[in-house]
């Protein structure tokens, strides 16, 4: 390829600064400046929250020392705490948040419904069921619980897809089937809990709240690997997904292979959500709120995949840091904080939407 003597061209067709980066070779990439700014700011916020989070705990470390240690210039003691204990935990938080944010954005776009997120559709409940089966019926190890949660999430995801499939998956049917499946699995989970003895039940409840406590490198690598494969795959299909927002007929007419795009993206979203839930438990409301918050910041109709991903990561790490600041290290699982914040956000959303006369 030739040297990219790129120039940006402002599109006069939209007041929102949609620009394109073009090379003389005829290649061009769409640039949404506002979305780009949002992504950069969110990444900066996530990084800042991560540094603060690494410095927070029974043995506080100033942000400057954290940065120095991360760059390899710290003292021995801090190096152990930062690199072995706290960094992997923060990375798990970032990856889980990113996966949930991206998975949520995909589900909401496919179902064309802001409530069509994995927590509402029963995926988290499915993962919980998998984990509970391992904890209650098998008293399995932590690894077994993770695997159980992964299998539970995947099975639920594919069950929803199959049940909702009738010559293609459609938004409403997906949401309704998901809510039905969610109700059934929640009942099963309740039954499993009543069957558990006290120790198992306590362990189960802690898992069900969603927590980053004690997460280490062994959770980081599989999640990172999965994201490395799925995120590019998802972004390649994102243009097709953007078209399906205009309805199946229009997107077919434009040459989008709607059902294939949807299948690839749904499988990816199920994998991402199941893996994230397996790693940290069902952290509530991130998948629901991250895409909506990202959308309000970018003010762009499209599925806003990358901004949602960044928003999810930022939200989760910030929530974890806030809970540790307010309640002390490892006192309050992050799922409690995201649940409370997410609930408040949802109510605010309902109120403002009603004021605007949309519901």
């Amino acid at each position: 390829m030739r040297t990219p003597t790129t120039r940006t061209a402002k599109t006069p067709t939209a007041s929102r600064a949609v620009r394109a980066l073009r090379t003389p070779g005829g290649l061009s990439v769409r640039l949404d400046l506002r979305a780009l700014t949002v992504v950069v700011l969110l990444l900066a916020a996530a990084l800042a929250a991560s540094v603060l989070l690494i410095g927070t705990g029974d043995y506080p470390i100033p942000a400057g020392d954290v940065l120095r240690t991360l760059l390899g210039n710290g003292d021995r003691g801090q190096e152990f705490i930062v690199n072995e204990l706290r960094l992997p935990r923060v990375l798990v938080g970032l990856l889980v948040g990113a996966s949930l944010g991206l998975g949520g954005a995909l589900f909401q776009s496919i179902s064309r419904n802001p409530l069509g997120s994995p927590d509402v559709l029963g995926l988290s409940q499915g993962s919980t069921a998998g984990a509970l089966v391992v904890i209650v019926l098998m008293s399995g190890s932590a690894t077994a619980v993770t695997l159980g949660a992964l299998v539970g999430g995947l099975v639920t995801g594919f069950a929803i897809y199959l049940l909702a499939w009738k010559q293609g998956v459609h938004g409403y049917r997906l949401v309704l089937v998901g809510i039905g499946v969610s109700a059934i699995v929640t009942a099963v989970n309740g039954y499993l809990l009543t069957k558990a003895d006290l120790v198992d039940a306590a362990r189960a409840v802690v898992w069900m709240t969603g927590s980053l406590n004690g997460r280490g490198w062994e959770q980081v690598w599989p999640l990172l690997g999965l994201c490395a494969v799925l995120v590019p795959l998802i972004l390649v299909n994102a243009r097709g997904l953007r078209m399906t927002e205009m309805g199946d007929d229009v997107s077919y007419a434009l040459g989008v292979r709607v059902e294939r795009v949807r299948l690839v993206l749904m499988v990816s979203a199920v994998l991402l959500t199941a893996a994230a839930t397996a790693a940290a438990g069902p952290v509530g409301f991130v998948a629901l709120t991250a895409p909506q918050l990202a959308r309000r910041l970018t003010r762009s109709p499209g599925p806003n995949l990358v901004p949602s991903l960044c928003m999810g990561a930022t939200l989760l790490v910030t929530a974890d840091w806030a809970s540790q600041r307010a309640f002390g290290a490892d006192q309050l699982p992050v799922g409690v904080v995201t649940g409370v914040l997410g609930g408040i956000y949802l109510l605010w959303l309902l109120v403002t939407e009603r004021r605007a006369g949309r519901i």
């Binding site: 599109t11 006069p12 939209a14 394109a20 073009r22 005829g26 290649l27 007929d249 229009v250 007419a253």
Partner: protein, 298 residues
């Protein structure tokens, strides 16, 4: 009482020069012996239709006659359970999706404008089949979008949100999106539904211009027989999934045909504006008399 209609004079009101319905040459788009069904409900069997190149073809017929279904099959939204739809000599289903989308555009009845989308953004999405992963927004895309908006008179609305537009404006925006697709064939499924009479004519005038200017082949499903007769260069009348008649409106629209297709007694007179056939339904009393006479006779 005699049959009310008179056979319409074969005059030359608004022919655009091309000879329609040339059976000898191969047309770009056709359906061959297709059977169309939703699940088990068969809409049409063994239906064959040719869309003459460079025509403004209008498909008419009573409700549930299969006209929208035929349009869906022609635009590969619906896969025929038997028979085949050919586009440029190839079975449409086995042609790559984007290639079809560069040849044949469709304006469906059900389209959703995403929340908060601007007119410019929506029209720009019509460029999808010309784009790729590394060719996302070329200067050509930009030029075509500008041109499409100017052509449909929505250039001034480029920055407005689609959901704040009137029905007529919105339909123009969707047509602009289909134009941005730059296809030599354009299919429109009831483009005038839900519009008031002024905007119906407005949209149809626009269609006629798009047809005449660039020799684009247009296929539209229309409800209003008089609109169809006025604007079409080629008319296909369907009933019960069968083609009852096809040809230039002046040649085929007669009182007998209207009665056969729609079950409506009427007169067909010259449209004072265009000279095309104008269907005037018989008055209520006349129809009752006919019905009474029919009962008497039997």
């Amino acid at each position: 009482m005699k049959a009310t209609g008179k056979t319409h004079a074969i005059s030359e009101p608004r022919t655009t020069g091309e000879t329609n319905n040339r059976r000898s040459t191969v047309n770009r788009l056709s359906a061959e012996n297709v059977t169309l069904a939703y699940d088990q409900r068969v809409i049409a069997e063994q239906l064959s239709v040719e869309i003459p190149d460079n025509s403004f073809t209008v498909i008419v017929g009573p409700n549930a006659c299969g006209k929208s279904t035929l349009l869906r099959a022609l635009s590969r939204m619906l896969r025929p359970s038997e028979g085949r739809v050919l586009l440029d000599g190839q079975v449409i289903q086995s042609t790559p999706a984007k290639k079809v989308a560069r040849t044949l555009g469709l304006l469906p009845q059900s389209s959703i404008a995403p929340d908060g989308i601007t007119v410019g953004d929506l029209v720009g999405r019509g460029r999808y089949p010309h784009q790729g992963l590394l060719r996302q927004w070329s200067a050509e895309d930009e030029r075509v979008v500008q041109e499409s908006m100017a052509r449909t008179g929505v250039a001034d609305l480029a920055d407005r949100h689609v959901d704040e537009l009137s029905g007529g404006q919105r339909q123009r925006v969707w047509i602009a999106m289909a134009l941005a697709q730059q296809t030599p064939l354009l299919l429109l499924d009831e483009p005038t539904t839900y519009l008031d009479i002024q905007h119906q004519i407005d949209v149809l005038d626009l269609c006629a211009e798009l047809h005449e200017e660039q020799g684009r082949t247009l296929v539209a499903v229309l409800h209003d027989l008089n609109h169809a007769a006025r604007y079409a260069t080629h008319l296909i009348a369907l009933r019960g999934g069968r083609v009852v008649a096809e040809g230039a409106p002046n040649d085929i629209v007669t009182a007998e045909l209207v009665e056969e297709v729609f079950g409506l007694r009427c007169q067909v007179i010259d449209d004072p504006e265009t000279g095309t056939p104008l269907v005037v339904p018989a008055a209520r009393r006349a129809r009752t008399e006919v019905r009474a006479a029919a009962t008497e006779a039997s």
